[in-house]
């Protein structure tokens, strides 16, 4: 920055922005969260240089976890290239100078908003979720004083009634994202607004999963190889979304797809939400119905006319 003539002292920041005392406080909260899977640990969340609601919880967790040798991947909606993912990745490139990647397999810290990568995670990896509302009971009971009591008593009747009412009204459970799940047989957790399609990936994942909610000042975690069971009923078992067609660019099936509107005549296509996974498949030679015949195989080297 440029300094005004009135000698204002230069401003400098610590590695990964937060001071070491703050990181220690956050690490203690993370350790407690790991020790009590699914329990929301209050922590003294700090103001961050990005707005509340834009990933400040995830950023604080990532800042506390990062060491100089770590390789970081940041995704938003499954993509490394959405604006907020770019902004957060740049933040850590600038403040921590760590290596970044878009390849799921190469990263050991992955910060995400709204998705879990399609490539299965490995032991040693940490998946950091950005969480807007950590409390799965919040829309049923707005008071924190009440919800903490309900968690302590494992009293999840409210949420079961909500799911039952869905079935009564619609014939099926009408929750499609942020689908609540029981962690390690005790606490019910909001898995952040990931589509319920991603819920099964959380169960017994070899990776550590840490959830950071900055505005609400809560951290919770799912340690590796821990059970994460979506709430359901014996006669209405949990199911995930299915897509009727494969990815139009890489032909992948059984992955989560984004719908892209092509024109105002009802034309649309479905493509992988996980851009790294899609690009990897295209590099391996997989094609879909709308792959350009002579285009380079990687999506990110594809035709750029449309971008500007």
């Amino acid at each position: 920055m440029t300094h005004p003539a009135t000698a204002m002292p230069a401003i400098s920041y610590n590695f990964a922005y937060l001071d070491e005392q703050t990181k220690r406080m956050i690490r203690r909260a993370i350790l407690k969260a790991i020790a009590i899977p699914g329990y929301q640990v209050p922590f003294a969340g700090r103001e961050m240089p990005m707005p509340y609601g834009w990933g400040t919880g995830g950023v604080q967790v990532t800042a506390a976890l990062l060491g100089a040798d770590d390789v970081l991947k940041v995704i938003d909606q499954g993509s490394d290239d959405t604006t907020n993912a770019v902004a957060l990745r740049t933040f850590f490139e600038t403040t921590a100078g760590v290596k970044t990647t878009s390849h799921t397999a190469e990263a050991n810290v992955i910060q995400t908003r709204h998705r879990i990568p399609e490539t299965p995670l490995k032991p040693g990896q940490v998946l950091v979720y950005q969480v807007p509302i950590p409390e799965p009971l919040r829309f049923l009971e707005p008071r924190e004083t009440e919800t903490r009591k309900l968690h302590a008593l494992s009293d999840y009747g409210l949420i079961h009634v909500k799911l039952y009412e869905d079935i009564a009204r619609h014939g099926h459970i009408a929750t499609t994202y942020a689908y609540p799940a029981t962690v390690n047989g005790h606490y019910v957790m909001d898995p952040s607004p990931i589509p319920k399609f991603d819920n099964p990936k959380m169960d017994h994942s070899p990776a550590l999963q840490v959830f950071g909610a900055g505005r609400e000042k809560r951290i919770y975690a799912v340690p590796p190889y821990t059970s994460v069971v979506p709430l359901d009923f014996a006669d209405h078992p949990f199911t995930v979304q299915r897509f009727s067609q494969p990815c139009a660019l890489c032909g992948a099936e059984g992955v989560y797809l984004d719908e892209v509107i092509l024109d105002d005549q009802g034309g649309r296509m479905f493509v992988c939400s996980d851009t790294d996974y899609c690009a990897g498949r295209q590099a391996e030679g997989h094609t879909g119905t709308l792959s350009a015949p002579d285009a380079p195989t990687r999506a990110d080297e594809g035709p750029k006319e449309g971008c500007s």
Partner: protein, 380 residues
Amino acid sequence: MYVAVKGGEDAIRNAHDLLARTRRGDPGVPEIGLDQIAEQLGLAVDRVMAEGSLYDRDLAALAIKQARGDLIEAIFLARAFRTTLPRFGTSVPVDTTAMAIRRRISATFKDLPGGQVLGPTFDYTHRLLDQGLATTAQTTVKKPAASASEPTGEEAAVASPPMPRVTDLLGDEGLIEPAPADDGTAPTDITRTPLSFPAGRPARLQALARGDEGFLLALGYSTQRGYARSHPFVGEIRFGTVEVSLPVEELGFAVPLGDITLTECQNINQFKGSATTPPQFTRGYGLVFGQSERKAMSMALVDRALRFAELGEEKTAPAQDEEFVLSHCDNVQATGFVEHLKLPHYVDFQAELELVRRMRAAHATDEAAGAPVPTQEAAE
């Protein structure tokens, strides 16, 4: 052809460049200086210092310039900087009795020790646009006459005798509840401990002091209109500078660090008394960095409303609801979460889209078959 959602990096860079140019505006117009903001937009600077919880006029002026005058954005800049600062100690509580007064009014007594000092106020001005301010060249401000009553700067600091607070004068007669005694426990710090409920008055006052002026104004206003009415009188508002001192253990005494400007509002509210307490007046307290009577008064109204439980009053209104008030009074949190709706949500939206399509298809099939609506069937 597929329009790739690529190029985020370039787009962000270009948007930042455009923002910088837009912030500067017409290059033919001289750039505004921080000294101009600090001197001539002083109340904006005060608000940024108060809600940014950072007492630094230069940085607040810089934040206002960088934020293009958007004060909540400037408050956010101040907060994000504040959070990186190390803490090296806790000052001695400031003594507002020893304030170098620039303004001091009481609505409850016509005259009182120390007198009524109007000071720089918009009160009693006629809100007519002053075209004399439209041109910059000829603007001259009347020099205060030698006997002008408004003391400024150091002169004031030296000249002001201690000015007793109205609440202390009433307290001598036992007409108002005593201020809570200092039991020596360190108050909680909401910037270092996550807020939990019940929060307690120290945490409440901290949250209100940095809370959004508009939000507190509306809540305070609601108490005047019958939502948790508490019959307030402005016992006193004072605005001026107080000295901040830091205790230094090695020296065994507190060292003055400098002066800060504060606005303090002490409300006097009715209280009918209870089985154990005779009728007496009660307190609502507001304290804000800089000059902001609107904020200090709103804070005092809300503080009093939040004390309903200890005073045995009925809980009937939003302004009394500690969790509601404290969870929503921070404008940096509020603006972030409201504005985050601008971020892409297409993964969740896709999930909803698929569900609505499926439900519409089922609905159409049912209708065609004349089947009963699934609502009744499943509810059995």
